[in-house]
Amino acid sequence: MYVSPIREPLIRGNKDYSQVTKDILAPMAGTPSKYWYMGIALALSAALFGAWATYVTLFTGIGSWGLNKTIGWGWDITNFVWWVGIGHAGTFISAILLLFRQKWRTSINRSAEAMTLIAVMCAGFFPLIHMGRLFLGFFIFPYPNTRALWVNFNSPLLWDVFAISTYFAVSLIFWYVGLIPDIGTVRDKAKTKIRKAIYGFLSFGWTGSAKHWSRHETVSLILAGLAAPLVLSVHTIVSFDFATSVIPGWHTTIFPPYFVSGAVFSGFAMVLTLLIITRKALNLEEYITVNHIESMNKIIILTGSIVGIAYMTEFFIAWYSGNEYEMFTFVNRAFGPYAWAYWIMMTCNVITPQLFWFKKIRTNVLITFVISIFVNIGMWFERFVIVVSSLHRDYLPSSWSMYTPSVVEVGLYVGTLGLFFTLFLLFIRVFPVIAIAEVKSVLKTSGENKNHSEHE
């Protein structure tokens, strides 16, 4: 295969296959560092706060939240949409970049997919708990019951149930199928009997047979082909929750593409936030290089710009439609009592990612980390603005209202953040964070020693 001499290597440090195995398995061995313990202690305390908030919500009802008659959706749905969006980057990296044959994905797809799974878990929690009775959550599924009643298949809220559960299930098997060969590696490198037995069980008896590899590649490719439209459908359907309603500010046809690009935008920001810490903490800087960070930053510019254009288009159409209610909602968003949220969103999502046009900035790890946090915040506020500022001033001025979250709602949000980081920290101890076999398969063509092998 022709390799451009200008293209920089994906994997640095002149590695051979055995070194790759050793480097990637290193974080799983031995006892965790004290930073890991500190991290998980912090994350678990946050999760505990969330557990308390869940307890309060279940035993006193959603009256413990700051919602009122005018504003029926607050932080709950904001957090739901935010978490689902974050999940999208993982599938984008593992499915869409696979279909586009982007080799740089091999270093980041495993952890990004794990992030997807955890983010979708956090997301799924909010629609369930916003119904107030978590233990009746199964009502949302169509199951045969004594009332002979089914769910409403005309409702986007029900489509959401199918979209999110399918998304979770398909992401899970996609991730696990990719993991099987690497679990085989962990099994063969295991030092203790128990470890060998556990990973042997989880590896499903992987041997690395040529026939299995051939099938494995076919399955991965088809799963990518299935997951690519799936991930686009998920945020499209989430946007239908709003777009099919008749609330000014929600009832717009631009929502599906705008939500999908926003999702990929926020997801990549979260991947960067996580991986910049992970690569440093686990000594994987030769695998997740500045090139990878730069590539992700380029996707952030692209999707961030789409989001920026969507904001402006929305505003333009509000004026151009000649609909006074639509126009009122948008002027109210930008200059009403929630203007602060709107301008935080505009600054974080439209202005900060544009800094990545400068190569100095997009190749600077520290600045990228800071901007990724800004994007995370901005995208959270985007959902907050869409949900709350569209609702709080409706057609009847006497019912206009303001919304402040209660400590219980804050607890639920902090709790999911805690759950997210707890599970991610466990993941980096239990499974290889980088797809070992995939990195090995691109090592020859994209490793640092590629030129030697070419002239052999």
């Binding site: 089914w150 986007p156 979209a163 199928v177 060969p181 008896g205 041997t207 040529a210 590899w213 459908s233």
Partner: protein, 172 residues
């Protein structure tokens, strides 16, 4: 597979070259175990293209029919509800759920088919010929017929050696 010979390579390009040489001498390669998929090996080993794609298609088709059909049945037969005078058979609003079931069925049927035909199931206890296969060794396995003489075995070993293989072992 009672009697066989194993040998390994440390480089996938040398492996492919070697396999072609061994094959040219008329020996049949039973299997190659590798740490990652080696492209071009399918042709050398004469592996057929996987038919799992068909499983995915059939699974997806079943998913589409089940998803769409179920919604249509619920809203026209089982429990028709009038939503604001809209038609009972509201085909466009059945599409999102039907799409999700299509993807779900296609993905799961294909993955389960893959695991079952490859006999990759939890609790499987495979023969591990060499623990370094999942690290950096490319292991070639050549079956030895029951009635083969010591000469036949030596011939295979010689062919492997000439093809640049290392660590040639005869296992009975």
């Amino acid at each position: 597979m009672n009697k066989y010979i194993t040998a390994y390579y440390l480089d996938e390009e040398k492996l492919l070259k070697g396999l072609k040489q061994v094959k040219a001498k008329g020996f049949k390669i039973a299997d190659v175990l590798s740490p990652f998929p080696v492209h071009g090996i399918d042709k050398v080993l004469g592996l057929r293209r996987s038919r799992l794609t068909r499983v995915a298609f059939i699974g997806g088709a079943v998913g589409a029919i089940v998803g769409f059909g179920f919604q249509a049945w619920v809203f026209t037969k089982a429990y028709p509800i009038n939503f604001g005078g809209k038609p009972f058979f509201a085909a466009p609003s059945f599409i999102p759920v039907a799409f999700e079931t299509t993807v779900l069925f296609a993905a799961f049927s294909m993955v389960f088919a893959f695991l079952i035909v490859s006999k990759l199931l939890p609790g499987n206890d495979p023969v591990i010929h060499d623990e370094r296969v999942t690290d950096d060794h490319f292991l070639v396995i050549i079956d030895v017929a029951e009635d083969s003489s010591a000469d036949d075995i030596r011939n295979i070993e010689k062919a492997l050696q000439e093809a640049g293989a290392e660590g040639i072992k005869y296992k009975a």
